[in-house]
């Protein structure tokens, strides 16, 4: 399970082996919180907490072009003010992981402006 934008742990995978790679719309350099629960039959373990950071990419590069530039700004502007409940909400643009695409995400673009990965 991974903590979502509203602060709740949500199941992201149910696997039978011991390895799992989370590659679901990850924001670079954001620390994600995870819980692992083992299940056998009807029995469940208590959750084990962990965290992980994807160090690949640049925060603000919401078009995944490995460069923060005007296209990321344009993409942000097109989705500006959208919140989590909106069907057009794009998780890759909400780089602050707060559930709304707003000026705080713009600051992430400014902070890495013209940098490349």
């Amino acid at each position: 399970m991974r903590k979502d934008r509203s602060g709740s742990f949500v199941e992201i995978a149910n696997i039978s082996n011991t390895n799992f790679t989370d590659s679901n719309n990850l924001i670079p350099n954001y620390t994600y919180r995870y819980q692992v629960i083992t299940v056998k039959g009807t029995l469940e373990s208590t959750p084990v907490n962990g965290q992980g950071v994807d160090t690949r990419g640049i925060k603000g590069d919401n078009t995944r072009s490995d460069r923060v530039d005007g296209r990321d700004l344009d993409n942000l502007a097109r989705h500006y003010t959208l919140a989590l409940a909106d069907p057009n909400f794009d998780a890759l643009i909400d780089t602050t992981y707060d559930g709304i695409i707003d000026g705080s995400d713009l600051i992430d673009i400014g902070a890495n402006w013209a940098t490349t990965y």
Binding site: L73, T81, I100, G103, I109
Partner: protein
């Protein structure tokens, strides 16, 4: 009169005074203010978002500004005098789907930083077909406030008062 060596309780009191001073400076005294000034001119109700006494260099700010849709309709914005022509910050101002909330973001670009405590960040222009008193009495409020400075990366500052 001979000076006596400091006693333990002298040192304790001095330490407490210093700690209190550090606490007041860090938490009780705001790291700066973002406030609103209002005026009416040329059929517009103009709301200026002003920085006042910033103790950290400015890199960016973001906030939601809630206004009274019964009295005002948002029209456009202009950048304030806090920024020079060379700064050309990234600025986005838009309303949420439900009218009455402006989502505002202003950010410099990597490598830029403005070390200036005061100035107008942005002017917001509203229109109104209501009586002047209705417009004057309409209320504004902030939410989702962020103030960022920059030190090798974005650093969000706690203690900036938005009012």
């Amino acid at each position: 009169m001979r000076l006596q060596p400091p006693r333990t309780w002298h040192i304790i009191i001095l330490t407490l005074i210093v700690a209190l001073g550090v606490y007041i400076y860090t938490f009780a005294i705001p790291a700066g203010r973002i406030s609103l000034a209002r005026k009416t001119a040329d059929n517009f109700h103009i709301v200026s978002v002003n920085a006042d006494g910033l103790r950290y260099p400015f890199f960016g700010t973001a906030f939601h500004l809630h206004y009274d849709i019964g009295a005002l309709t948002y029209d456009h914005f202009t950048l304030g005098d806090y920024f020079s022509l060379d700064d050309s910050p990234l600025v986005l101002v838009n309303e949420t789907g439900e009218k009455g909330t402006l989502v505002i973001g202003i950010s410099l670009k990597r490598g830029q930083l403005i070390d200036k405590p005061d100035g107008t960040l942005v002017n917001l222009y509203f229109k109104s077909d209501r009586e002047a008193d209705t417009v004057k009495d309409s209320t504004f409020s902030f939410s989702n406030t962020v103030f960022s400075t920059f030190d090798e990366k974005r650093v969000d500052v706690v203690g900036i008062v938005y009012q």
